[in-house]
């Protein structure tokens, strides 16, 4: 995945995070993760997981938590 694509994924994930932030730190990560699961194709999800793996530069804290949850969800599936 190119740098541009990776930056874009981070931007998009943070945008999603900002919407769900109003639901609070307890429930927002799960809601963000569910949104990523439902609307992002597997390649994009793998891309954001890899970005987190590589340090997750630029990701908002709530979104980091959400991507951790996404990893768990994908592992279960």
């Amino acid at each position: 995945m190119s740098e541009r694509s990776s930056d874009k994924l981070v931007h998009m994930a943070n945008q999603i995070g900002k919407f769900f932030a109003s639901q609070g730190a307890e429930t927002a990560p799960a809601a963000i993760a569910e949104h990523l699961r439902k609307f992002w194709d597997p390649r994009m999800r793998v891309g954001i997981l890899a970005h987190l793996e590589a340090g997750g530069a630029g990701l908002d804290p709530l979104v980091r938590d959400a991507i951790e949850k996404l990893r768990e969800m994908m592992a279960v599936r």
Binding site: M1, I16, F19, W40
Partner: protein
């Protein structure tokens, strides 16, 4: 087939519920109170002679031909202006009436040229008919009437002529322009024999404010206003009822034909979306169907720098399938995908997504709703449980307050715009939220109570401020909320919006709207009996598009404006079948009926019917496909009826994505801009050449009927079918009705839809199923589809697209009345006389600061790119805001727009781009280079016959 003659009842139908019984010519007749005698007689089967009356406008009573006798009343009143009364006894034919009518007709004919044999209306002239009806055999006053010397034919309008010598001054055209269209462009100038229909201040039709809707032409009883196509071809001999292929209003038309040639398109009175009205596009702009640039043979080429080579259908289909298979073998199953078309039928769209899911084996399917109303689908499904508007168009007739947000119906949805204007003239109040001063803000007989010219990108802040006023001033409908919505979620939301940081005073500076205007608008909307919200792409095409839709849904719920006629949340859809394309499963994450691909039960239902395993993971959306192409992992694309290079944002990125693919297949009418990057071109068919259905913005499913053979030999659904077979995926249908049967089997909201039902009912609105066998005009009547209405907290988040010293202005884009979308159709009609190029609207203050003159070339630059176009200096836009359309590929307005998008759906943020404007000498180097590339890309080598 025969010519369909609609019955003209002379005056409009009364909507009264009280019935009145009277006697007409000895027969007893019962009709609604308020019905005219003329209409009652016609409903009984008796046609009283008439000239100035027609049921598309109110009675006028000027021609004095429709006189009747009423027992107990003196004189001979006009039957068109006399309402029925209980016990009334009417005679429509007596010796006295016969004498009077004959006398009236003598006067008309004495002043009318008797060139009937060569008149364009010969065979379709009401004056001729009435002369016959009253038995006119002689004209005592001679035939050398005052008007015979032709005072001048007006041929300025590209679609119809005005011949004053044939005018009988019945005022039907004037009244149609006022009552039906609401433009008030016509009047009667002069007095007595000098009376004449006058557009504007005695201007030509083209030079006046006439919008060419055609209502005047339709109303004219003679050849005074006549379609040029009728003058050229002659009277039609048969007609077919079909649905317009332009905007999401979905007007029903009679295609009036002579053989396989369209003579004219006439709006059909029984059309439930348009109620007999039309606009300049649907009524007149169908000539593109036979335009010389139509591509009628399939074409292929190895490289996008090669000329096209015409080939047989067999070769084109085999080549495409072979390429897609090769790419999948080399790069994997997920390396190809497709785009369904919102201009094609439901059946065609359904087949494309079926081919991709079943034949390509992935969910890489998307549609142009991605770039327009995808946030509507997301936002309304989250709050109400369904991805569509809540009302039918008739609902506006019962609205008391209309809140119009980011939509310009008089330009983009003109027929509905006329219906809205009619309701406003009747007294409904209007609030406009729009950065531009659209026509509805102030026009003849319509003026918005409040115009909130908010700064682009601040929709959520303003809507939350409106909600703040509703909640803090006790204007919420607590009874409705307690009964219909989740009370806890409402309380959370109410606490959120009530926070002082959301007050109009707090956000006024941010949005640029005075706080008192926001407060007044909120009070008006919440205080009206029936408050209706209509919105367009000014809501959805933002980085917070989905949030804005949810804020709208919140506002309607909080004020109890859901679940009955006159209220609701109404997205005005852009393209003719964008609602249908979404319904048919065009999004990569869901099957038809908005069911997620990960749902095992749903997926198994499709798998068992289609006979193939289906992917449970969502596929790529259009922007994601392009990103993946640039990354080198997405290599093949099947595009049916969409021009992503011109319509999608950040043109350079779209071009880079397309250029990185190994097989781009474009199926369209013309070599569009996307085809510059295509390797295969499959010639599509117009809506005139195929059967199917479209679903309009009010969820109404309507038939599209073939009126002529396909010029390329195949309807679009047949091409997809052939491609599926070549890919080894078994699909078999003999007619689109069989595809609809499959849609109904697989889609709960379409379960009751069939061609037989559409024939019987004319149209139905989904959901149409066992619970609602005749469809659902108004949704959420007894409860929301999701159960309880869900309030969502809508925190305002500023877009990342910011103005600054380099790019100090905000660009917003949109469309104009005479053009449609990327202009592929309308640019190939006479509509170019109204809009031959995109212009940049700029406020006089901003223009003066930059030394820009009206009509001058200017460079429009953003962080993404730059283009040049001519300036139009106008106060329609606020200082700091500029506006343009995207109808012309020479401009390529989307070179300038960015790839910022809605957080939930990736719908592009077309409505907010930071730009700079400066004088220039003409097109940019990029535009000139693109023009050369386009011309090279459209070279075609002729078809080589196999025998040679």
């Amino acid at each position: 087939m025969s010519l369909i003659h609609e019955i003209d009842y002379g005056t409009p139908r009364s909507k009264a519920e009280t019935m009145v019984t009277l006697t007409i010519d000895g027969e007893t007749m019962t009709v609604p109170e308020g019905t005219s005698i003329m209409r009652a007689a016609k409903e009984m089967g008796t046609a009283i002679p008439k000239l100035c009356a027609t049921d598309m406008v109110e009675a006028f009573g000027s021609c004095r031909l429709c006189l009747v006798e009423i027992e107990g009343r003196a004189g001979t009143p006009a039957s068109c202006t006399t309402p029925v009364l209980p016990g009334m006894v009417v005679k429509t034919q007596t010796d006295r009436l016969k004498r009077l009518r004959k006398g009236v007709m003598e006067l008309y004919i004495s002043d009318h040229p008797l060139d009937c044999l060569t008149c364009a209306a010969n065979g379709d002239c009401e004056l001729q008919d009435m002369a016959g009806a009253v038995g006119l055999r002689d004209v005592r006053y001679g035939h050398e009437g005052h008007n015979h010397p032709n005072p001048g034919l007006d041929e300025s309008n590209p679609y119809f002529t005005y011949d004053p010598s044939k005018c009988i001054v019945c005022s039907r055209c004037v009244r149609a322009c006022e009552e039906v269209q609401g433009t008030f462009a016509l009047t009667i100038a002069g007095r007595g024999f000098d009376s004449v229909v006058s557009p504007g201040m005695e201007e030509s039709f083209l030079g006046s404010e006439c919008v060419s809707c055609g209502a005047c032409v339709q109303a004219c009883p003679t050849a005074t206003l006549t379609e040029k196509s009728v003058i050229e071809i002659g009277q039609p001999e048969h007609s077919v009822i079909t649905t317009c292929a332009y905007c999401g209003v979905g007007c029903t038309f009679k295609a009036e034909m002579r053989g396989n040639e369209v003579v004219r398109m006439v709006p059909w009175k029984d059309g439930k979306a348009n109620r007999g009205h039309s606009c300049v596009k649907g009524r007149f702009a169908w000539g593109y169907a036979s335009h010389k640039e139509r591509i009628l043979n399939p074409m292929i080429r190895e490289s996008i720098t090669d000329p096209w080579r015409e080939v047989s259908w067999e070769e084109a289909i085999a080549h495409t399938a072979s390429e897609f298979k090769r790419i999948q073998a080399k790069y994997g199953r997920l390396s190809i995908g497709g785009i369904t078309s919102s201009r094609c039928t439901n059946e065609e769209t359904f087949l494309v997504q079926k081919l991709i899911r079943g034949g390509f084996g992935n969910n890489n399917v998307d549609t142009c709703a991605r770039v327009c109303h995808s946030p509507t689908g997301y936002g309304l499904s989250q709050t109400y449980g369904t991805s569509a508007g809540t009302q039918d168009f008739d609902s506006v007739e019962q609205s008391d307050v209309i809140l119009l947000i980011g939509a310009n119906p008089t330009d983009a949805h003109p027929v509905f715009g006329s219906r809205m204007k009619k309701r406003l003239r009747e007294g409904a109040k209007l609030i406009v939220l729009d950065p531009r001063r659209i026509d509805l803000v102030r026009m003849p007989h319509v003026e918005a109570s409040h115009h909130l010219p908010l700064r682009p990108g601040t929709n959520v802040a303003v809507l939350t401020a409106l909600a703040h006023v509703v909640v803090t001033e006790g204007l919420a409908d607590e009874h409705f909320v307690r009964e219909r919505c989740d009370w806890d979620e409402f309380q959370d939301w109410a606490a959120f919006v009530a926070d002082p940081r959301h007050s109009p005073e707090a956000i006024s500076e941010l949005c640029g709207v005075p706080a008192e205007d926001i407060r007044a608008a909120a009070r008006l909307y919440a205080g009206g009996e029936n408050g209706a919200i209509y919105y367009g792409l000014g809501v959805t095409e933002h980085s917070q598009g989905s949030t804005t839709v949810m804020a709208i849904a919140n506002l309607a719920m909080a004020t109890g404006n859901i679940g009955r006629p006159g209220v609701g949340v109404n997205p005005l859809r852009g393209q003719n079948n964008v609602q249908g394309a979404c319904d048919m499963g065009s999004f990569p994450h869901e099957f038809s009926g908005y069911r997620h691909v990960s749902g095992d039960e749903t997926r198994q239902l499709f798998e068992s019917l289609w006979g193939v395993p289906l992917d449970s993971e969502p596929g790529l959306r259009i922007p994601n496909m392009l990103d993946a192409a640039v990354d080198g992992v997405f290599k093949g694309l099947y595009v049916q009826g969409e021009d992503i290079l011109q319509s999608d944002p950040d043109t350079r990125h779209v071009a880079a994505g397309l250029a990185a693919m190994e097989c781009v297949v474009v199926q369209d009418l013309f070599l569009n801009e996307t085809a510059n990057y295509a390797h295969v071109f499959l010639p599509g068919s117009t809506f005139l050449e195929k059967d199917g259905t479209f679903t309009n913005a009010e969820r109404r499913i309507q038939r599209v009927r073939k009126v002529m053979p396909s010029k390329s030999g195949k309807a679009d659904w047949e091409i997809t079918l052939d491609l599926a077979h070549a890919m080894g995926f078994d699909m078999n249908y003999a007619h689109p009705s069989e595809i609809m049967d499959e849609i109904a089997r697989l889609t709960p909201s379409f379960a009751g839809v069939s061609y037989a039902k559409l024939e019987a009912e004319g149209s139905v609105q989904w959901p149409c199923n066992e619970k609602a066998p005749l469809g659902t005009p108004v949704m959420h009547i007894d409860g929301f589809v999701r159960g309880r209405g869900r309030f969502m907290v809508t925190e305002y988040v500023a877009t990342d697209e910011r103005t600054g010293p380099r790019f100090p202005l905000l660009l917003t884009t949109g469309r104009i009345l005479s053009q449609y979308n990327v202009g592929a159709q309308t640019r190939r009609t006479e509509n170019v006389v109204w809009h031959g190029e995109d212009r940049l609207e700029i406020h006089p203050h901003d223009a003066e600061q930059r030394g820009v003159h009206d009509g001058q070339w200017v460079k429009l630059a953003s962080r993404s790119g730059e283009t040049s176009l001519r300036a139009l200096i106008t106060e329609r836009v606020a200082p700091g805001v500029v506006y343009t359309t995207f109808h012309h590929p020479g401009t390529q307005a989307n070179v300038v727009t960015t790839d910022f998008s809605d957080w939930a759906t990736n719908c592009p943020e077309y409505k907010v781009t930071a730009v700079q404007v400066m004088p220039s000498n003409g097109p940019t180097a990029w535009q000139e280079g693109y023009d050369e590339q386009s011309r090279n890309s459209r070279r075609i080598a002729p078809l080589v016959e196999a025998a040679e």
